[in-house]
């Protein structure tokens, strides 16, 4: 029977199936960070249980870490306790760990692929919703809660029901100045924040195949913002070239054998999807969000929408609430909205390719007066690579701050946060109320668009910054 890519990976990992369809699913890779794991390790300790496969588990600190000089340790007491707790737990349970001062430290969803820990055809979980990122390699990767973290630590399995299949096919090619971030924002704008609920999204089509791995990670990363359990892209030559030679990836003959298998990881031509959405890449423009969830998004050349145009009264009320929070007026040109802060980084857009994009716009220009612009590499290795290419100099000469790796202002658990009322052009993934700090206002966009906003002092169309 014809199968989707999701079904192929799923079926290869079913340990047992219960009468009601619930499956005991085997997990190949478990990524652990400091925020969602302390209670899970504590649960193991209380019950006298062990980690079943420390060698399939890896831990890193990312959410809480300061992105300024950290040679003096971590000043914020709660953050320090959480990080020290992880350090104690990995030592006690024998879990491999990338500590704060390791060059390889970084955001968990950047370092998994970067280290070759995340591989095509594997199941990957992490106590973080953006685990969907790793699906770009053709892995089934999804976020879980802390109880499930504990379940995976103890059993290397999860109790799950299979998801439904949603195919998002993107035909044609993206226009110049339009990136993977714009594409995924356009997809979320089309299907909505709950459009993927209960589904795994497989992205396919010419525009997806043309993306480099960085772009594919960005697209899969934001699958959760459409409510999907996971995002998937069939592995191809781009994927294999990316994985080859990475530290934890198979090497030599084992790699060649793996590639032979990985080539079978694609949906059969007559596979049945529960839903299919088709987009024309050529119609996608540089995008920016105007509201407080990622589906509230428009092309940068548009104007702020008018709640009075919404037919459903609840929708009208929700739009008005968003505009009140965002301090925007219907009809206002998005490209005229002044900004205070720019954040370039996160698991969505903290890769070397993203920093190159930002530097390309920043080169020879200056951050507008009064604007604070942060660039936070996704990992220590991204930072080192950017410095080797001189990108840090281009950015700092233009007035950007060049910082240490971590989640930073995407989640504002460390000192990088917006003050109430501040408005930020951000390459992160969520524009929820207060996400970047209480009262902060977030406009999601691509790295190039964020850099353009920094220079213009307002949301700006990157196509004017060629």
């Amino acid at each position: 029977m014809a199968r989707t890519l999701f079904e192929k990976i799923w079926q290869a990992h079913v340990v047992e199936q219960m009468p009601d369809g619930t499956c005991l699913l085997y997990i190949d890779r478990h990524l652990v960070h400091e925020v969602t794991s302390p209670q899970a390790f504590e649960g193991l300790r209380v019950a006298g249980r062990q980690v079943r496969r420390p060698d399939a588990t890896i831990a890193v600190v990312d959410h809480n870490v300061p992105t300024s000089d950290r040679s003096q340790g971590i000043a914020e007491p709660d953050s320090r306790v959480q990080i020290e707790t992880l350090e104690r737990n990995v030592a006690e349970f024998g879990v491999p760990f990338l500590p704060l001062h390791d060059t390889r430290q970084g955001i968990v969803h950047i370092i998994g692929p970067e280290q070759g820990i995340s591989l095509p055809g594997t199941t990957i979980v992490c106590g973080d919703s953006h685990t969907s990122t790793h699906g770009a390699l053709g892995a089934l990767a999804f976020g879980i809660g802390t109880s499930e973290v504990e379940h995976v630590l103890a059993t290397q399995t999860l109790l799950q029901k299979p998801a439904k299949n949603l195919l998002v096919r993107v035909d044609g090619r993206l226009s110049p100045g339009v990136t993977a971030k714009d594409l995924v924002l356009a997809i979320i704008g089309r299907i909505g924040t709950a459009g993927g609920t209960g589904h795994v999204i497989e992205y396919a089509g010419e525009a997806i195949e043309a993306l480099d791995m960085a772009g594919r990670f960005t697209v899969c990363n934001m699958s959760i913002e459409a409510g999907a359990r996971a995002g998937l892209i069939a592995p191809d030559e781009t994927t294999f070239a990316y994985v080859r030679g990475r530290p934890f990836a198979p090497q030599g003959e084992a790699f060649e054998a793996a590639v032979q298998h990985w080539r079978s990881l694609r949906s059969d031509p007559d596979a049945v999807f529960d839903k299919t959405i088709v987009l024309d890449a050529a119609t996608v423009a540089p995008m920016v969000t105007w509201g407080t969830n990622p589906e509230a998004v428009l092309p940068i050349h548009e104007t702020v929408p008018d709640p009075r145009d919404a037919e459903d009264p609840a929708r009208r009320q929700a739009m008005q609430r968003m505009l009140d929070y965002m301090a925007l007026t219907p009809g206002q040109a998005l490209a005229q909205v002044p900004i205070d802060v720019v954040f370039i980084g996160s698991c969505t857009n903290g890769r070397i390719e993203d920093i190159r994009e930002a530097a390309r716009v920043a080169r020879g220009r200056r951050v507008a007066p009064g604007v604070r612009a942060l660039v936070v590499p996704g990992s220590g290795l991204v930072k080192r690579q950017a410095e080797a290419e001189g990108l840090d100099r281009i950015l700092t000469e233009a007035g950007f701050e060049w910082r240490e790796p971590g989640c930073s202002m995407c989640i504002a658990m460390n000192p990088d946060r917006l003050a109430p009322g501040q408005r930020c052009a951000s390459t992160s993934n969520r524009n929820f109320e207060g996400r970047q700090g209480p009262g902060g206002r977030t406009h999601l966009c691509s790295p190039a668009m964020a850099a353009a906003a920094a220079v213009a002092g307002r949301l700006a169309d990157v196509r004017e910054f060629a």
Partner: protein, 206 residues
């Protein structure tokens, strides 16, 4: 996990769609290594002003809803992050049941792991229950898991669907990890087959 069998309690109306996990519990309160004590931060931005004073118009700051154990909301409740701190905060406040047209997947999962019953009912029924819940001191609903029924103050009942294995786990307050560990031999057998079929997935121990 505390079992969930039947609950008769005050229901609080929260007629908002897309209530995200940052709204349920902002990230700055996730810097804890405990599961308890988060109830005071539940719905922080909706519940308190910038000086930390209660906003008198927010439902959970009003009587009788301070004692609510049931919450009724609109579509896509719990969207956003995987933080289990969201159900922990709800539970710590006293909420044991959430009724909405639909839930985000990870939040939905997380509820079941904590003895919270998420009930999916149509938007029209949710709106009727929200009207019930707005009756003040009479805003009591009964949610019975065994019979899969919500009983309204006027005596009408509404049936809801639930996955049989999840129902059983909630009714018994099962320790799922303990249950799965009883399948250890099946897991070990799978590992043997899986290693043979996919020898290129190396261990991470350095």
């Amino acid at each position: 996990m505390p079992p969930f069998t039947s609950l008769t309690a005050i229901a609080a109306p929260l007629p908002l769609a897309n209530v995200d996990t940052d709204k349920i519990i902002p990230a700055r309160f996730l810097k804890t290594i405990a599961r308890t004590g988060l109830g005071v931060h539940l719905f922080d931005a909706l519940r308190y002003d910038e000086h930390g004073a209660e906003r008198p118009d927010f439902v959970l700051n009003r009587e009788p809803y301070r004692a609510a154990q049931i919450l009724i909301a609109h579509e896509n409740f719990g969207c956003g992050s995987s933080r289990e701190h969201a159900p922990w905060a709800l539970l710590d406040f006293g909420i044991r049941c959430i009724i909405a047209p639909d839930f985000a997947d990870i939040f939905h999962n997380n509820c079941f792991k904590n003895g919270i019953l998420p009930v999916r009912l149509s938007r029209a029924i949710c709106d009727a229950l929200i009207a019930d819940a707005s009756l003040g001191p009479n805003a009591r609903l009964t949610v019975d898991l065994e019979s899969q029924i919500v009983a309204r103050p006027n005596g009408e009942t509404v049936a809801f669907d639930i996955d049989p294995s999840r129902k059983r786990a909630l009714l018994l307050g099962l320790d799922e990890i303990g249950e799965t560990l009883q399948r250890a031999s099946a897991i070990a057998a799978f590992e043997g087959r899986h290693r043979a079929a996919s020898p290129w997935i190396p261990g991470l121990a350095s």
